[in-house]
């Protein structure tokens, strides 16, 4: 479903991604972990070209991501993205947040888009908030709305960049629950997260990044129980120690 080859990204003199290859099969849930600054967000953002790579190719469902223009917009519509900071449209209600892209990009009628949107909002448990503005919702509710907004485009895959890192601890669970459900329903997912419990229970595969490279990749039990590299062992010792 997602095929990354030789991905390279520099910011000035700093190399953020170096020779990254990654394959995500249809329905697979890949969790990306690694220390801060290792390039996880950059990888995630390159996958739908919010960041343009300096070298390498990315294929989504067989089609190579074009550099820009309408064609790129069309392919992006097939890949949902959820951000750490939610990024709900502040001037629109939750319902309008969900219907904007389906009507403007997919050409759905307003009625149909609203019907889908309400269904999705019910599915993530915030049906009652449809008419409110984003700022009137709690962080956990906002992030669930953002997930629903991405799902409203009926994407082939979903990218999550630390979706729970900006949340108060008591709201992390409700968002992870929605993501777990989504994984069970067979969604193809790439999830950058520090939630090791989620990685262990939901991931099909854990990818460990350090210094812009994929250092290790394996099933959760391989990675957590018998990491192959010192760097992964160090990292796990730090994150699992508390």
């Amino acid at each position: 479903m997602i095929e990354v080859r030789g991905l390279h990204k520099r910011f000035g003199a700093h190399t953020a991604l170096h020779e990254v290859d990654l394959d995500v099969a249809r329905g697979e849930v890949v969790v990306v972990v690694g220390p801060s600054g290792s390039g996880k967000s950059t990888l995630c953002r390159c996958l739908n070209r919010l960041e343009s790579p300096d070298a390498g190719t990315i294929r989504i469902d067989g089609a190579e991501l074009p550099a820009e223009g309408r064609e790129l917009a069309r392919l992006r519509a097939d890949v949902g993205m959820v951000f750490q900071s939610f990024n709900l449209f502040q001037h629109k209600t939750i319902l309008q947040n969900l219907t904007l892209a389906p009507t403007r990009v997919r050409g759905l009628s307003r009625d149909e888009a609203e019907r889908n949107a309400r269904e999705l909002l019910d599915r993530v448990g915030i049906g009652a908030q449809a008419g409110k503005l984003p700022a009137q919702l709690s962080g956990g509710q906002q992030q669930r709305a953002a997930i629903a907004r991405a799902l409203a485009m009926k994407p082939k895959a979903m990218l999550f960049d630390e979706p729970t890192s900006a949340l108060d601890p008591e709201m992390v669970g409700e968002v992870l629950d929605v993501m777990t459900e989504l994984a069970r329903d067979g969604m193809t997912m790439v999830v950058v997260t520090h939630e090791m419990g989620f990685a262990r229970q939901v991931a099909d595969r854990v990818v460990f990044m350090a210094d812009g490279e994929i250092v290790e990749s394996g099933t959760p039990s391989e990675f957590f129980d018998s990491p192959a590299t010192d760097r992964a062992r160090d990292f796990l010792a730090k994150v699992l120690s508390h």
Binding site: A73, R76, D78, F83, Q90, V105
Partner: protein, 214 residues
Amino acid sequence: MNVITDHLSEFGHGLVLTVELTLLSLAGALVAGVVVAAMRVSPVRALRAAGMAYVEVLQNIPLLVWLVIAVFGLPEIGVIAGLFTTSVVVIVLYQGAYTAEAIRSGINSVPAGQGEAARALGLTFTQSLRLVILPQALRTVVQPLGNIAIMTLMNTALAAAVGVVELTAAANRVNLAEAKPIWIFVTAGLAYMALSGLFGLVTGVLERKWAILR
């Protein structure tokens, strides 16, 4: 006091023309401002350069000079338009440069994540600008746009210099006949103050109504 009541119709006509000049100029400047601001943030380098050149050229020559160039220069190259029309177009282009800068500052104040979320959903650059960024940007610059509106109103007085008989020119004419400058120009000044006060009120109402909850 008779000097005012005797010439009410002159003052009235002048005032109407001032209001017309101002409202047409404001509408045009808003359109020009949005277009130029969009050019200045576009991913196309040539558009960015053109937008910047527009602002620099328009802002760095006085409005009065532009008015004189247009009124006396355009007929020389075969463009014949009425004084009122010419004045409106010139004021639109001139105020459009200031409006563009205000709107651009509003665009820059919208968090980058808003545009990223829009593009990640498959909206094109133009769609995300029009549907997500601009509506938020405009709401944050209601106050500066209100100031530009008042500046536009004041600047319409310069049209008097090229023969448009708006409020200032009307007052001047009355004064030529009556020679009571204090009464006449204080009256004109009060009319300008009343109009700009009205703009201030409208700005305040819009700002409260459109405030974005963050």
